[in-house]
Subunit: 219 residues, 2 copies
């Protein structure tokens, strides 16, 4: 019975995500779904990327959190339109929430919407929210066994970003292990090494995203 | 409809967790549910604690992971009875899984069972698995805003352990902020600062757990 219900919810989510995707296509907006563990550095990465991308693209942000508006305040401080979604306990964002939030953003004036998903390496990967691209963020302190332990998050993503790479000297983190496991579950998908703190690798990731945004917004 | 179904599953989980608790009481076993984000250091903490506790207590371990048996192998290497539970995608452990696993452990020869829950700061907090104590693990690199963002995990726990404290000099982590927020959502609950790597604080945490195990196993 549990499985059947899950299936119904999933089907409903897929219907709504298709509607979200249709709206975004009409408005020529590229929506990017940013996922990772609590504390992987999603908001800091968004901040660093926005600095690089805002000269070329008009950016809006949906901040997902179970409670509070800490992250939306950080983004609003950058001068970007931001909406805080509180899931009130739910462990992921569903397409219905995005559908309800989109009218709160100035869609006519946006090229790209970043959605910062709930900090969770499991559940968000199961829910298509209508995005054009998924980014999975893994930070060095989390350890090098995460692709093996949480495969779906790495299988379903458009790219993998290793964050907090300035910490590599201080942790036992085998980059080759992660790269090999990622290639196994998601062959050919790109991997970026970055540090939001030092700026390392942010330009390369921003260039990759710009190319994606260009393709999507060209219609 | 979604809420109703969740409620049914929760009620069912509560029935089973009561059965699990009854079995453990009959066997005078203290079950401890260890929760935290991916990469917070749950397995390393278990390893460090086991070294301290194994002289006084007979320890068994249930390792929860979505996939793989990396962690159970690490525990078995310590000479402790370990069972790997693979949830095959599910983001938390439910009481039914514990009920099915218990007969696989040598219950007559155990005083304490550690359950390492799925790496997830959200969903596991919602599910009573029949434990006598919950430990929530938060590692320094995850950041100091986690109590505000993921309140249930910190409200429902028997103690909070700040792990990787040897990293404090390298991260912007405000201990006072975490302590104050934790005191707000869980007044009077203990907080431990540890580093599994350096051993800092492990003795104090082990002493706290020994006292808890003593009370529970005394019946």
């Amino acid at each position: 019975m549990e499985i059947k219900v899950l299936h119904q919810i999933m089907e409903w989510n897929e219907d709504v995500s298709a509607e979200v995707r249709k709206v975004l296509k009409e408005k020529n907006i590229c929506m990017i779904n940013l996922m990772g563990s609590p504390g992987a550095g999603k908001t800091s990465l968004l901040t660093a990327l926005s600095e690089r991308l805002k000269a070329d693209w008009r950016i809006g942000v949906i901040e997902g959190d179970i409670a509070g508006q800490i992250d939306a305040e950080r983004i609003a401080a950058l001068g970007l339109p931001a909406v805080q979604l509180n899931t009130d306990g739910a462990c992921h964002i569903e397409a219905m929430s995005i559908q309800n939030i989109l009218p709160l953003l100035p869609l006519e004036d946006l090229d790209v919407i970043f959605v910062e998903n709930i900090g969770n390496l499991v559940c968000p990967a199961e829910f298509d929210i209508g995005e054009a691209l998924r980014i999975t963020l893994l930070s060095i302190p989390e350890g090098d066994d995460k692709v093996e332990k949480y495969p779906l998050m790495f299988t379903e993503t458009g790219c993998l970003v290793l964050n907090k790479c300035d910490c590599l000297p201080y942790f036992d983190f085998d980059e080759a292990r992660v790269a090999a496991n990622y290639e196994t579950v998601n062959p050919g998908a790109p991997l970026f090494k970055v540090s939001s703190r030092t700026g390392e690798g942010i330009d390369e990731l921003a260039a990759f995203l710009s190319e994606k945004i260009r393709k999507v917004t060209a219609g």
